[in-house]
Amino acid sequence: MRAPWAIIASVIVPAATHVAAETAGLSIKEPFKGRGSFVDWAEWTTATLAILIVLIVLFTLLFGRRQSNPLHINFLRFVGLCALPVFLLTVGTFANFEGSKRVEFCHSCHTAMDLYVDDMRDPASNTLAALHYKNRYIHEEQCYHCHADYGVNGAIGAKVRGLTHLYYWVKNSATAQGKAQIQLYGYYDNKLCLHCHAGGHAFLSVNDHLDFQNDLMETDAATGAPGMSCLACHEPAHLSLQDKRSAQKESP
């Protein structure tokens, strides 16, 4: 019975050391990356649980019949088939759900998202996404913050749309290949901007915001269009495919 525990220890200890090293490191460029957020810990816990389950189940599969004391095997089966999987289910779901909010996750559809993520991370760009990113108006999960409505329904709606994106990606559609411009499903909701900006000193010190406040706050019940979109004055949110193509033509 000693060998499997030795194997398990040999996996846990390096994993824990790696987590500790990751969380201890401080980067001036990305100060919060790997600083032990809930998602980081959930991901490491999921990985550790999955490895433990694999080791335990492999042991019971390979050596279960040879053990003279069934109590040991029954205990290992309880741990490997019931206790740890229940933890894996909950922690893994949290890790996957929360992990899917990260920019890296959105960027994993490279051909479709390169344009937007590269522009957002470009310090020379002046699109809204780039301005928010380089000034750290949004610390993390930048894509999700501006493209998921607030509240439970909004978050679920964003996830369901994510599944349709998967469909387009698997289908290798023109938008997934980065050959056609991605369009919004509907009007961009001003609430996504106002949630952070409304009430702020900088926002209120602009007279236009106060003059058009009713238009900014109201939404057409039938179409969902705002009386006046924030983007009417604060364009562009992202670089468009056309802009990128013309920039490529102009560059030597």
Binding site: A50, V54, P70
Partner: protein
């Protein structure tokens, strides 16, 4: 192997249940590998696989485990009849002790396997005799192998039930202790 023996074997070792446990083990391996992949390589496909396949597999495995364990628990309690064909091994020396057997018909040979000496028959038991008590009382592995000499019918009592009888019936306890002492002395 006669049909009666087959049924008896399934009574002792639940074939379907152990196969179900194997299936659960294989399924959970797949779920764990998907979970590992989903956090090490986050992406739309790994996320969807985790949300659909891994979660489904984990729920199925946990349900299967609970079901099999409950059935095993229920099966393993109480007293049941069992049949062995001639020449069958009831248990091997070194096995875990799980049941006590009382012979109702037939004969068995108790064989001790000594290192460097080979197997040696130390006793022959017949109707009315019982065997398997030593491992249950001493919480030790089987001290000898028991093999049937003829076809045997027996009544088997599970460890927990036997322990209850042994603890609360002083006459039975005395009888079992005497038999154990006698057998230890003679062997």
């Amino acid at each position: 192997m006669t049909r009666r023996t087959q049924i008896a074997k399934r009574m002792r070792e639940p074939w379907l249940l152990s196969k179900l446990m194997r299936v659960a083990e294989v399924l959970i391996l797949a779920a764990a590998v998907i979970a590992l992949w989903s956090v090490l390589r986050p992406g739309p496909i790994s996320l969807t696989l985790f949300m659909v396949a891994a979660q489904g597999l984990i729920i199925v495995v946990v349900a299967l485990y609970v079901l099999v364990t409950l059935i095993r628990f229920k099966r393993r309690h109480g007293v049941s009849r069992v049949h062995f064909a001639a020449g069958e091994t009831v248990f091997q020396q070194g096995d875990a002790g799980d049941f006590l057997y009382i012979i109702t018909h037939g004969e068995v040979a108790v064989i001790r396997e000594e290192p460097e000496q080979g197997p040696k028959m130390i006793a022959k038991l017949g109707p009315g005799d019982y065997f398997g008590e030593m491992a249950l009382v001493h919480h030790a592995p089987r001290s000898a192998t028991v093999r049937t000499m003829t076809s045997v019918d027996a009544v088997m009592i599970e460890r927990l039930d036997f322990t209850t009888l042994y603890t609360y019936l002083p006459d039975l306890q005395r009888n079992v202790d005497e038999v154990i002492l006698k057998r230890q002395t003679s062997s």
